[in-house]
Every structure is written in structure tokens, then in C-alpha cells.
Amino acid sequence: MNVAQENFRQNQTTLDKPKCSALDHVRQNSTLYLMAIPAVLSIIVFSYLPLFGLSIAFLDFSPFRGILGSEWVGTANFADAFNNPFFWAALRNSFIISTLKLMITFPSAVILALLLNEVRKRWLKVVIQTSTMLPFLVSWVVAGAMFRAILGTDGLVNSVGTSLFNTDPIAFLSDPQPFRWVLILQDTWKYAGYFAVLYLAAMATIDPNLYEAAEVDGASRWQQTVHVTLPGISNTMITILLISVGYLVAAGFEQVYVMYNVSVYETADILETFTLRLALSQGNYGLATAVGLVQGAISLTLVLIVHFTAKRLGRGGLF
């Protein structure tokens, strides 16, 4: 992601002769500017205008009175949020879920890529890689339907357990403890194949001479993996890791929203679902937006910390 962004930095060095005025320049290139307008306009309206809507966090907002007509309450909504135990629970859950997802999905993708890299039979590689990409391509709603059919109280796993092994059914989807792990492993299921593609691409760029040299030195396949392949993809791994840190308070809203229910709020209520309930069931838009703003601020702080740390370490920033 950051490489794609860096790219335009490099490509924008040759400018027209600066002597013509801005207006002349736009006039001469009017077609190009017109071509960019729909995209630029849609970003301004749907990505930047909502930022102004964040002022709702400082209002006792009523949809009927609008932003200008609502009463200014300063930081009262933030005080409300910080005094709300459910806010802290949601913040904690967001951190725990996304951290565990990172800890499991990230290495899983690396391992999957390493395994696929060892397969020499092309058709086998294609079949397995396709199957690992499929979860990435379906809606969370569909993923939810699958996991319910398999892990629900009357789902496949429990019916096998109760009828064949006489065990008690496990409430994977309504018991807070197993549910957290369902979320984490479902994330691995959905994304490991996608990230493995990135690592496989990085592996394809490793100089084959390195493997030949290792073989001459008598290195086994395993030693080659550890000493050639892993160092070869370490840059990609670090980049993905750095980007992920910026999303540590975003625990996967679409997934949780599909999968969760009242009985698992204890471990699965995250900041977005909490925000949504504040808005929908309590009509407390000011408080909901304040929680969203706090989440955005944490996220932005994490991104900036990663960006400047990475820069200091000489890796180039995220943007």
C-alpha cells in the first residue's frame, strides 16, 4: 500500500514550465481535470464532508435540528463515554480481538505461503491457492451463514459431538469465551489466503542463485527456507505488520456485526458495534460520534507512531 503511494511521489517531478498562470494551465489541460472530477468530487463529498460531521461529537445532536441548530455541549459527550463501562469494555475488546487476529492470521499467512512455495506440481498449487482465496471473495454474511451451519448449537460440529461421541454441545456462537476464538480463527480463514499471495509474490523475486549457493553449501530445504526464503520476504512481512498496527482498534466491524449477539457482548462488543447501538437504540448521536472520534484519534495516533518510527529506522514511512 505504502509503495503504491510512494510511487506517485517519484513520478511527479517533471512539471510543465512554471511560467504559465494556474488558470492557463487548467484551461490547457481541462480534459484531464474534467476526467478526474467525478472521482475527486466523490472523495470530497463522501470522505471529507463526514469529517466535518465529527462536530456532532460536541453537540447534543438532534437529527431534526441539524448540526447548526443543536446545542453545543463541549466535551460532555466525551465525559459520558469515559464514564461508561461499556465504552471501556468495547475498547478493550477491540484491542484484544485485533491483536489476537494479527498474532494468528499474520504468521498463518506466512506459513501458508511457505508451504505453497514448496509445491512443485503446478495444478496442485493452483487448486490449493484457489481454495484459500475463496473465503476472501465471499460476503461476511455468507461466511456467517457457513459458520452458523457448522458451529451453531445444532450445527455440524455439535451434531457430530453429541450423536457420535456423546459430548455436551459447545455454544461456540453464544458463549463469550469460545466466541472470541471463533472471530479470530474466522478472520484467519478469510484472510490468510489473500496475504499468502503477497508473500508468494515476494518469494518469486528472490534471486535463484541464493538457493543454488545454499544448496552447494549443503543446506537442506528447511535451512534454505530459514536462511533464504524468510529473509527474502522479511520486507513484505514488516510492511504488512506496520500497516496492521494502524488498524489495531478496528477489530473487523462487518464480521462482528454479522456474527455477534447479546449473549457475547462481554467479549465481542467492539467500538463500532457499541457506537451503532448508541445511535440506533438510544438515539444518542452525539455520544456515538464522540466514541467514533476517540477511535479515529487512537487509530491516527498509532498510524503516526508507526510512520515516524519506521522513518527513524530508515524504512521509509507509511505515506
Binding site: M1, F8, P38, L51, L54, T132, V138, V142, V197, S299
Partner: protein, 294 residues
């Protein structure tokens, strides 16, 4: 005997290490693919067979009854049609606007190209959150119209950056030569750039297409039930919020929910299964363009 020293524990011509790798990949394959097989099994298995025996690993019997129910219901038919239109129109619109902007803003001589491109970076990291976003869409007057399903998410910042990175490497000599021949900027784009940019167009089409087809959260808030795409209908069926009356499926209560839900999920899965092999190389390439290009 000598062979054994060369290949210790060779089974089926594979070393033990290779065998372990194959086994691990077999398990991964099963974990990824089996949920698809299982839900499709439920969708085609008669419900009587489903409840008569406690455990099923695959289809027991075959019926298309649930698919007939789906396409016999005016409301589910409409939801499906809306999903198809949203995907085709939304993807077309998104791809055209993204490619145009990616091309235009990557032109070396364009003074404000970099500034305008920078606009697309901030939204990658910072957003206004659910409520301000909703209020903006409401203010545009698109609420409860078909446009609410395709316009607000028309351009994804990330996809724009992919397109821009791709076009930044477009050979400038070709553009210059066309200009010498008197081609306008519009002609260059229409007759040279668009026809030769199949890789990025296909990549964007896949990324946007999958996004539109799978989209469920915002549609459930931005439009009334008569404009729900089928993902939202599935979500409502699942969440127990079965809108039997609203859907107006005749005799819905007698429909077996598990099989019916599985069939609705299958309607969402099958197009992906059919389309993915056709687009596979572009999907993989798209991921690569997004991460490595430039």
C-alpha cells in the same frame, strides 16, 4: 538399498518432509473449501433428510425446491435483481471513474495532479465514522434510492492509488507521439489508453465487483426493504429477524429455514465460484499491483 540412503523414508516417491507439507496443505484445503461444500450441500438436500438423521457431511438426496422458492418469491427475485444491477452498474461506474482519474492525475505535466492525488491518501486512515457518513448521504438526497447503493462507495481510495501507480508507468513516448499526430487528451485516453489497459481494468473490475456483490452493511441502512440487495435479505433471514410478512413469501413458515438460508447463501456463492476462475489471474495480479507496483 542405495536408493534409501539418497531418499530416506520415501513414500509415493515423496520424502517425509514433502509428505508432511502435502498433508498440511490437504488439511488447509479442507478447512477452506469444506464450508463451501457443506452450505451448498444443505441448499440441495431435502429438509426431511436433513432432520431425519443427526449428522450430514454432504448432501443426502437432491432437490432444487429451495432455489425454486427463492426465484418464485417476487421479493427475493427483486433482491437478486438489485444485487445484479448494483454489481454491474456500480462496478462499471467505479471502474470508469477510477481509471479516468488514475490516468489523468498520473500525467507528468499536470500541475495539481499530485495535490489532488494526495486527497485520496487521508481517507485510507481517517474517516468520519458511521453517523456523519450517514448524514452526508442523507443530505445528498440519495437515501432510499438505487443511487445510494452505488454512488457513495463509487471510488475506493485504495483502488485509485492502484490505478494511479499503474498508469504512472505508462510509456510517455506513446502519448507524445499521439500528441504530435494531433490527438486530443480525450482521444488519447479513449483510443490508446483504455484499449491497452485490460490488466488494470480487469483488476479494478474484480475488486469493485466483489465489493458490490458482497456489500451488506450500508445498504441495510441507506435504503428501504424494497431496494435491499440479496445480501441484506440473507442477513435478515439469518439474524432471526425473519421478515416473513415483508418478504411475502407464500407459506414462508412452512419453508425449512436452514435449507432455505443455505440456498440464499448459495445464490450469493455460485456466481463467485463461476466468475473467480475466469478472473483468477487478474485477482492475483491486482493484489500484486496494489502491493508491489511502483
Amino acid at each position: 538399498m542405495t536408493n534409501i540412503t539418497l531418499k530416506p523414508h520415501a513414500i509415493f516417491g515423496l520424502t517425509s518432509g514433502q509428505l508432511l507439507i502435502r498433508l498440511a496443505l490437504l488439511v488447509i484445503f479442507a478447512l477452506c473449501a469444506y464450508p463451501f461444500f457443506y452450505i451448498l450441500s444443505l441448499a440441495v438436500m431435502p429438509y426431511e433428510n436433513f432432520i431425519s438423521s443427526p449428522v450430514h457431511f454432504g448432501p443426502n438426496g437432491f432437490t432444487l425446491e429451495y432455489f425454486q422458492q427463492i426465484f418464485g418469491s417476487a421479493n427475493l427475485q427483486r433482491a437478486f435483481t438489485i444485487s445484479v444491477f448494483k454489481t454491474i452498474m456500480g462496478t462499471g461506474l467505479s471502474v470508469v471513474t477510477t481509471v479516468m482519474a488514475g490516468w489523468a492525475l498520473s500525467r507528468p505535466g499536470l500541475k495539481y495532479g499530485r495535490l489532488l492525488s494526495a486527497l485520496f491518501i487521508v481517507p485510507l486512515y481517517v474517516g468520519g465514522g458511521l453517523i456523519p457518513y450517514f448524514l452526508v448521504i442523507r443530505a445528498t438526497g440519495m437515501l432510499n434510492t438505487f443511487w445510494a447503493l452505488i454512488i457513495p462507495s463509487m471510488v475506493w481510495p485504495f483502488n485509485f492509488l492502484i490505478a494511479r501507480a499503474y498508469f504512472a508507468n505508462f510509456p510517455q513516448e506513446i502519448v507524445e507521439a499521439a500528441k504530435v499526430d494531433g490527438a486530443s487528451n480525450l482521444m488519447i485516453f479513449k483510443d490508446i489508453v483504455w484499449p491497452t489497459s485490460t490488466p488494470i481494468i480487469a483488476t479494478l473490475a474484480v475488486l469493485y465487483g466483489v465489493g458490490h456483490w458482497n456489500d451488506y452493511f450500508w445498504p441495510s441502512f441507506l435504503v428501504q426493504p424494497d431496494l435491499y440487495p440479496i445480501t441484506v435479505v440473507l442477513q435478515n433471514l439469518i439474524s432471526g429477524n425473519v421478515m416473513a410478512s415483508r418478504l411475502g413469501v407464500s407459506g414462508f413458515q412452512s419453508v425449512s429455514p436452514q435449507s432455505f438460508i443455505a440456498a440464499v447463501a448459495a445464490v450469493l456463492i455460485i456466481p463467485v465460484l463461476v466468475a473467480y476462475p475466469l478472473f483468477q489471474r487478474y485477482v492475483v495480479k491486482g493484489i500484486l499491483v496494489g502491493s508491489l507496483k511502483g
